[in-house]
């Protein structure tokens, strides 16, 4: 009541006394219309609605209460791509949200378990959800690709290309859409780091390539030495098998060398 009166005074100040009288008259008539019974019921309603209700929807972030104190929660396996391929788009969409909610639930439970120094039962559930979601996405992507190829002749995937970065190393570049075309976008042209040069980069590349080459060279020598020692210890070994096992080693050349011969006198049949 007092709040409405204050409002009325403010209004009167703003508009004029005539309006003030009208407002007062309406408020009086309203008071007369309220019987004690109606006021009581209103008050009761007010008290009832002020008691906040526990939100049940938020309990979706928690596991089933009967699993709370379990040490083992048994679940099935992840969804496979073949199973997902026979589902309709709508079903896949629904399944995605089920998986999403499940993952959120598991994350919540894991976090709470870690907080309370408890063991989170069956953490592989998270991996199963992850696998399912990946599989679902591949299926959706397949369909998307097929549709795009049919309609536009392109896959509809984000375009990518191989570029040299600032260190002169090849890396994958995912293209981005720009408002301006490249020839107009001078700021972008100046800022792009898709080129490389300079003495430091040259030196780095020299050392880096040397390192790569050394790895390759050592692997080659290692396999050659292995073949050599095998031949030395086992003169009657199956050469075809050796060739299959070490395709990079020139075994015929090795055989002609002295190194493959053992330190023993060859047995000569009488």
């Amino acid at each position: 009541m007092s709040a409405t009166l204050i409002k009325c005074f403010n209004l009167a100040k703003a508009v004029g006394t005539g309006a003030f009288r009208n407002a007062l008259a309406t408020s009086h008539s309203q008071v007369a219309a309220w019987s004690p019974a109606t006021v009581g019921s209103l008050l009761k309603c007010g008290i009832h609605s002020n008691v906040p209700l526990q939100n049940e929807k938020l309990m979706e972030f928690f596991d089933d209460p009967k699993h709370w104190s379990e040490t083992e929660v048994k679940v099935g396996r992840a969804w496979r791509t073949d199973e997902l391929r026979i589902k309709s788009n709508k079903e896949l969409h629904q399944l995605w949200y089920i998986l999403l909610k499940e993952r959120n639930m598991l994350f919540t439970m894991e976090h709470e378990c870690n907080d309370k120094m408890e063991v989170f039962p069956n953490p592989e559930r998270i991996d199963k959800i992850k696998i399912s979601m990946e599989n679902l996405e591949t299926v959706v992507r397949e369909r998307n690709k097929a549709y795009h190829l049919l309609e536009t002749g392109e896959t509809g995937e984000r375009p990518q290309k191989q570029i040299h970065n600032a260190f002169g190393l090849r890396c994958n570049y995912k293209t981005i859409e720009h408002v301006l075309p490249p020839f107009m976008n001078t700021k972008w042209i100046k800022a792009q780091h898709n080129t490389y040069g300079g003495r430091a980069v040259h030196k780095f590349l020299l050392h880096y390539r040397e390192k790569l080459y050394n790895v390759k060279r050592k692997a080659k020598n290692r396999s050659r030495n292995e073949v050599m020692m095998t031949l030395r210890r086992n003169p009657n070994i199956d050469l075809q098998m050796l060739k299959r096992k070490y395709p990079d080693v020139d075994i015929d050349k090795l055989l002609s060398q002295d190194k493959t011969r053992g330190h023993y006198v060859t047995k000569v049949d009488a």
Binding site: S49, N55, K57, E60, W68, S69, L100, K101, E112
Partner: protein, 150 residues
Amino acid sequence: MSTRWYPIYQRGNPQLRVFLPNFWMKLVRPTEEQPANVVTFAVSTQMTKHDVKNYLEKIYKIPVVDVRTRIALGDTKRDQVYGYITKNEDVKLAYVTMPKNEAFTFPDLFANKAEKQEKDEKSMDESKQGFRKFLDRNKKRPGTPGWYSI
């Protein structure tokens, strides 16, 4: 927007729609005391306030009045032996306010954990004792199967 690639938005275009969002949200126990209608979430770092609001309203059907977010710095820890420093990932915390007539109290998940554990241990002890009895009985006739005699 989630981490997928979407076409650039230009004025007048239809609003972007996310069909398969890959954001995660987890409900965490609040560290400070909060009003009954405020819920704390840890969310994907890329999520905006609008994302959090839409996520809760559209997927979970939870009424949201207001969302405030902050990025909490991950803890750094120095290794005791080698002295190198490791850091946990930063996490975005969202404080979601629901309408006044809603409330949420974080449930106690491990209230009857001890009771259950005791029961489990008891049954384990019983089965152990049973096996010991079986071994005792079969001391003089090793290798006899369990169904041989009562």
